[in-house]
Amino acid sequence: MIGRAAKHRDSALWIAAMVHRISGLALAIFLPLHFLALGLALESEARLESFLRWSDQPLVKAAEIALVFLFTVHLLGGLRILVIENFDWRDGQKQLATLAAALSAIVAFAFLVRVF
């Protein structure tokens, strides 16, 4: 029974739903920090500049690349849901989900090349 109940977790579409949820959660955690960082400009331009120079560290850049990936994958995963819910059902949902992940990886890789 347990094996049967957990079998759906092998499905690409279950993974797509989980990736959508986890990426959304990560973005929700990041957003207040993003807003606080931009808010530094209220103190002065120099304060924002000093934060941006701190963010040049490789670890921070790596986190930014991960965020670009999560942002893109959440966008594409969300578009997939809107299409499923609002238009006629089409075959190839798994291929679409895989394409969303692949496109997100390409965007994140392009960003990696840009910032490093």
Binding site: R21, F35, L36, G39, A41, T72, V107
Partner: protein
């Protein structure tokens, strides 16, 4: 999730889809020579267009994210519905306030 929240979740997603595409393009553009405060602020200061764009973005994301977080808390934690709702409202309001503050910081200063 009730029908009203479901509709808000999907409507804000539809509104944000083009905004996210533009924002990703801006991220790539802004990092073309490394990011600097002068560069960012020279684009945004006094710009009604960017204020409207990011103002709408903040409004939509505050609703979208708070409903999403509410769903996750409701399904994955033992918190009762009243606490989940209270946290979602607090989170949405905090995002709206911090987001509009950030927009003001880059447009008005």
């Amino acid at each position: 999730m009730n029908v009203r929240l479901y509709l808000w979740q999907r409507a804000t997603a539809a509104v944000m889809a083009p905004l996210v595409v533009v924002h990703i393009a801006v991220i790539f553009y802004a990092t073309r020579h490394g990011m600097s405060a002068a560069d960012i602020l020279s684009r945004t200061r006094g710009s009604i267009a960017w204020a409207a764009f990011y103002g709408l973005f903040v409004f939509a994301v505050s609703i979208h994210a708070s409903i999403g977080v509410r769903n996750v808390l409701s399904e994955w934690t033992p918190l009762n519905e009243r606490r989940v709702d209270a946290f979602a409202v607090f989170f949405g309001l905090a995002l709206a306030v911090l987001g509009l503050r950030a927009v003001a910081a880059v447009v008005l200063t």
